[in-house]
Symmetry: C2
DNA sequence: TGACAGGTCTATGCGGCGCTTAGATTCTGA
DNA sequence: TCAGAATCTAAGCGCCGCATAGACCTGTCA
């Protein structure tokens, strides 16, 4: 960043935004472990105390970024659903989109789901974006049930399973363990994720045909 | 711990083990964020430098604990599979066991899957326990395919999906986001997890009956 | 028995961390 | 125009991981 280039004026002008960008770049380049407020301030070219005029503490900066992440994820999920030609294809697309988001934006993904780093559950905007994302999944499952593409009955376990499946794939990929095993299965993790997402839709459709009914 | 009770002798005797226990207790009581080598040493009643005679750095202590975790998880998975009356029941039991382990031992679970904390992939014993755990899942899926309880064909995507499903449920539960949504679905997260695990087996069985075949 | 080597622990110090406080500088609007 | 608000710097607190040097204990072997 602009650590060496001195600012023109005493006041930065858009320090808050600059800090957020510097933080993201730092996570991208050196991982979550390298993130400190002092370091972020240094990268942004300001004194170590400056960030505290924009964020009450370190977690607040990270929470702001997490909120951005939830908004980005929601947008991608909405677009993926809208672009899909059928409810079943939408379900597959949601899984792939969730996992791809995590893989392309691991910095956001980490901050969104690590309570020791950020607290998006205490941020109204982040919570609402997360709720709307979840609703996209619920609506898509309802579409699928109406179309007979997935088993009828209580959608709760199905929605939970689909969320957990996508989140598990994303976590295992981003944090490392999946890559090694994927090579033996499908050549690449991308290919394996696609196979899984499509396989799930096929299995759910088959179960629906077989008359399986979900429920407590 | 024994911070206030002075040791009888200059040498501790079993400091390594004491540090591991103190670290686990610290994570349990105050979370991962509270773990520092100095703090662990204080809880164990030794000087801040003492741990470095047993672990080269902080990550090594955490990696040792992660290795223990993989061994514990493997044992539980092996037992769960052995106790199940059928291949299909074994599959359900594996999911429930994985998720329950994470919920009951979040300290271990975190250390096993957070590369910024520990590096179990660089620990031979941990890697082997993880491989054996994965093999338990592969074997169980193979049993299910032979019994016709899950679709035939390439087991890769299925094994991956089941692992990701369990890991996603575990992560979402341990890190918070699942609890809120589960209340609306099944009353409690435990109940929801059970419903999901059983639902998955039912859906897979239905898909097998419908003649679904997995594969690239 | 006693010297000594090696393992285990303490003491001290380095730079970096989150966060606080006090004070300097700039911007804003009455 | 000018006071007050907003933004930034400087300095300091106790904590951290880790390195080094030295104190202590214990097992070993002459």
């Amino acid at each position: 960043m602009s650590a060496n280039r001195p600012r023109a004026s005493y006041h930065h002008g858009s320090l808050r935004e600059t800090l957020v960008r510097a933080c993201l770049e730092l996570i991208r380049a050196e991982g979550i472990g390298a993130v400190s407020l002092r370091r972020v301030a240094r990268e942004a070219g300001v004194s170590p105390g400056a960030p505290y005029h924009h964020f009450p503490d370190r977690a607040a900066l990270l929470t702001a970024i997490a909120g951005e992440g939830f908004a980005m994820l929601e947008e991608r999920l909405v677009d993926a659903r809208a672009a899909a030609p059928s409810p079943s294809a939408a379900l597959t697309a949601l899984t792939e989109t969730y996992v791809r988001f995590a893989h392309e934006q691991p910095a956001y993904f980490h901050l969104m789901f690590r309570p020791e780093l950020a607290h998006p559950d205490k941020d109204e905007a982040a919570k609402e974006a997360a709720d709307r994302s979840f609703q996209v999944l619920c609506d898509t499952v309802a579409d699928c049930q109406r179309a007979g593409d997935v088993p009828a009955g209580d959608p709760g376990p199905l929605v939970t399973a689909l969320w957990a499946l996508a989140h598990g794939l994303a976590s295992l990929w981003v944090d490392g363990p999946l890559d090694g095993r994927a090579k033996g299965f499908a050549g690449s993790t991308e290919a394996l994720v696609a196979q899984v997402a499509q396989g799930v839709a096929a299995v759910l459709a088959g179960a629906a045909r077989a008359g399986v009914r979900l429920g407590p």
